[in-house]
Symmetry: C2
Subunit: 157 residues, 2 copies
């Protein structure tokens, strides 16, 4: 995929996350799913909104894409996400036959803003076996988003 397209899709994942944190739906995690140059699914973390620990941004985007495409098989789809996926989202992406994942912030970045991804990563591991499936892209843009989230957490309304 060309850099300008990767940039475009990661920016849309960031916008999706930004919508979620503004509305206090959950953490700063947004995702889009792309197939043949078109966005087929959007999702952001809705753990707080839905009282549902399975509603990570990646999961919401997978569910949205499957609903839009009318299939549980997302072969040929690429996922862009603002934070490196936890093992729930990694395994869900594999069940869905997602072809590739681009992520912005790292598992450690997720940990630094208060999420437990690094704990689970210490248990399960295996990322080193994923090869090209998982590729970093746009960390700096996503770190800016994480900073916005932290600032908002300390704002009194």
């Amino acid at each position: 995929m060309e850099t300008k397209d990767k940039m475009k899709y990661m920016k849309m994942a960031i916008e999706e996350a930004r919508f979620g944190i503004r509305h206090k739906h959950g953490g700063p995690f947004g995702s889009v799913i792309v197939k043949d140059g078109e966005i087929v699914g959007y999702g952001h973390n809705c753990v707080l909104r839905d009282n549902d620990p399975t509603c990570h941004g990646e999961m919401m985007a997978i569910r949205d894409a499957c609903c839009n495409l009318g299939t549980y098989d997302l072969s040929g789809c690429v996922l862009f996400t603002t934070g490196e996926p936890c093992h729930m989202c990694l395994c869900a992406s594999m069940w869905a036959n997602i072809e590739k994942i681009y992520y912005g912030c790292t598992i450690k970045d997720n940990g630094a803003i208060g999420f437990r991804d690094d704990k689970f990563d210490g248990i399960f591991g295996g990322r080193e076996l994923l090869g090209d499936f998982l590729e970093p892209y746009g960390r700096r843009m996503c770190q800016k988003l994480f900073k916005e989230y932290l600032e908002q957490q300390h704002t009194i309304y």
Copy 2:
């Protein structure tokens, strides 16, 4: 937990799975979640019904329990499930703070009836680090359920 209670809850997880396969919602995977001696959530595999690869039985039960209890925190809850959880469901259970999981059939049993759990397990691993969190119970009862599922798959309607 006493054996008679474990037996009772696993039988209910099997009934939940049986409902799902009769209605062709997905694979033979059913779960119940128990808190303080009461069932607070039910779920069965609905991947085919909902065209959604995230709808494993455990995920559906977690979502149901969270909805019923009005929280994303299932601390103090025990999950019974007919098949050993994949990494998506394991990690989801940890995000939900599930206390313990009893499973019937093993990952290999899941593989033997056509599911890819063993492939993902070869990538992520880490079950050996889970200690008491994951405990086998009622495999023989669940193998009977898996057999029913296989027989149904070969039935022409």
